[in-house]
């Protein structure tokens, strides 16, 4: 069995930033295990610009953002294995992986960082009636085919779901000569960024059908067309409104879920709201010495936030390895209250805090002129005002640790107050 102080599982932006930060905090013996043939994770297929505004103060493409971290990793001489898939982790931190070159590998790890990212919900997960011909892809798979493999997926395309990946793909397909007939969105608002709606749909005159869904798929070997209908307030399709669109391809952009098979195997506790591990202020999971960051914890829309979270996990893993974390402090729960879907971290060991702490949250509706309050045992310790809040945009609240230390609460809760709106772009 091999031994490493720190094993990082996944070489996407989360794994890269975590490993780099652990090294900066003095950990020498680090290895990243990545199942793909190269580092960079999902960013390698996200060739569009719009990454890095927070971290680098400039607008990079996905591959450029990844390259900067890959270069830094190389300069630091941090070890990694690609084409290596982790198949098991145990509660005592043994990592089992398989690689084409080395066969079965087992590593005894001092600490582990989970950075496996997320995967797309598939069609089965949302159950569209109709035939199952070729020509139905998740948006991310289509993105990979076009941007990495160099295959065009279709000529006449309908996209279901207006999340950012769907919007980005509408533009990408159009640039490559396809005709995107429509983007249909079940909800009365898009979960994508306004900027993407403008630059990916409006720029190319692609219609966005809000409160619409695909009700049927027609075709034997290949998709021949789909039916789209308006939905009522209970999201039920209204039959009279059904319209047929002749197309050869249907892309599904219906959300992402954290990839946590390994976490389940190790009996790490999962938050049903995020589908990711429960984490504390150190980004440590329910198992001591196993940390997690990035999309494996909760789905992020901005890679910059992934990087920040990963730095926290990397630094914490280093502190754990050097026995600088007090594992015996009480964990104070952080609870989402009215208007808040979830908050990361889910618990805080207050006396482990240093400097400031970021709370990441999502709201459950679209709000205007809103106020997010952080409460310690019901008493407000921080308030932030936001002119605009939406479920599609993660919010970050930075809190001075001293505020928490002074309060020493038994419970921290977050709520949002504001005017609920139904907006349509």
């Amino acid at each position: 069995m091999q031994e490493y102080d720190l094993v990082v599982i996944g070489g996407g932006p989360a794994g890269l930033a975590a490993a780099i930060e652990a090294r900066k905090n003095g950990v020498r013996d680090i290895i990243i295990l990545e199942r793909d043939i190269e580092l960079g994770g999902i960013l390698q297929q996200c060739i569009h610009n719009g990454f890095g505004l927070h971290i680098f103060k400039e607008e990079l493409t996905g591959p450029e953002y990844a390259q900067r971290f890959i270069n830094e990793l190389a300069e630091m001489g941090i070890e990694y294995k690609t084409d290596t898939m982790v198949i098991n982790i145990s509660e005592i931190k043994t990592v089992t992986a398989v690689s084409r070159q080395e066969g079965l590998i087992t590593i005894a790890a001092g600490a582990i960082i989970l950075a496996m990212g997320c995967r797309e919900r598939t069609r089965g997960a949302i159950r569209i009636p109709g035939a199952r011909p070729a020509g139905i892809f998740t948006a991310g798979t289509a993105q990979r085919f076009i941007n990495i493999e160099g295959y065009m997926v279709g000529r006449r395309v309908v996209i279901l779901g207006s999340g950012d990946i769907g919007l980005i793909m509408a533009r990408r397909l159009t640039l490559e000569g396809a005709k995107v007939l429509a983007v249909a969105e079940l909800m009365p608002y898009s979960s994508g960024l306004t900027r993407n709606i403008v630059q990916c749909l409006h720029d190319y005159d692609i219609p966005l059908l809000l409160s619409h869904t695909v009700t049927n798929i027609r075709g034997k070997d290949r998709v021949e067309g789909v039916s789209i209908a308006k939905v009522d307030d209970n999201l039920k399709p209204i039959p009279e409104t059904e319209k047929f669109y002749e197309c050869d391809t249907l892309l599904l952009s219906v959300g992402l879920i954290p990839e946590n098979e390994l976490s389940y195997q190790a009996n790490i506790q999962i938050d049903p709201k995020t589908s990711g591990p429960l984490v504390n202020e150190a980004m440590e999971t329910s198992i001591e010495g196993i940390f997690a960051c990035g999309n494996v914890v909760h789905v992020h829309d901005l890679v910059d936030f992934v990087t920040e979270e990963a730095r926290r996990a990397g630094a914490s893993a280093a502190h754990y390895i050097f026995e600088e974390i007090n594992e015996n402090l009480p964990a104070v729960p952080v609870v989402p209250d009215a208007g808040v879907s979830y908050v990361i971290p889910q618990s805080i060991r207050i006396d482990n805090l240093n400097g400031s702490l970021d709370l990441l949250l999502r709201v459950n509706s679209v709000y205007q002129n809103a106020k997010i309050s952080v409460k310690a045992d019901g008493k407000t310790i921080k308030e932030v005002k936001r002119r605009h809040l939406a479920p599609g945009e993660m919010e970050r609240i930075r809190i001075d640790s001293q505020l928490m230390k002074n309060a020493q609460p038994k419970k921290i809760s977050l709520n949002v107050q504001g005017e609920k709106t139904r907006y349509a772009v």
């Binding site: 060739i47 493409t61 996905g62 450029e64 941007n147 160099g150 900027r195 605009h388």
Partner: protein
């Protein structure tokens, strides 16, 4: 009087702006609906010289990577996007390539270069 609807994308709020032609206003348009001043300059840029960064991929001939992601170094005029795509689709590159390498100089006469988004070996 002509007017035009524009959604500001300078920040996530996405204000709905209306631009009215107005000879007396700065830039030739009077802008309504903004919540901050950036909305005005955004709208004027969209009306007079809308630009976008173009990203795509080009063919690679001699590597395990089949495609190289590319971008325009700066934003190009919006109405030149498809002209640029024609040039992008005409070229193929040989590895190795470094991030930032210039692949097409002055693409579609925009005065802007097409550059590589990553290294490939």
């Amino acid at each position: 009087m002509q007017s035009k609807e524009i959604i500001c994308t300078a920040c996530p709020i996405g204000c709905h702006l209306t631009a009215h032609r107005d000879k007396n206003a700065k830039g030739g348009y009077r802008i309504e609906g903004y919540s901050c001043k950036r909305g005005i300059s955004y709208a004027l840029a969209e009306l007079t010289d809308p630009r976008r960064i173009l990203t795509s991929t080009v063919r690679v001939v001699n590597s395990t990577h089949k495609r190289l992601p590319v971008r325009t170094a700066e934003a190009i005029p919006k109405d030149k996007i498809f002209q640029c795509m024609q040039e992008v689709n005409r070229i193929a590159v040989k590895s190795p390539v470094k991030m930032g390498d210039i692949l097409i100089k002055n693409i579609a006469d925009t005065g802007i270069d097409l550059i590589s988004s990553r290294d490939i070996k």
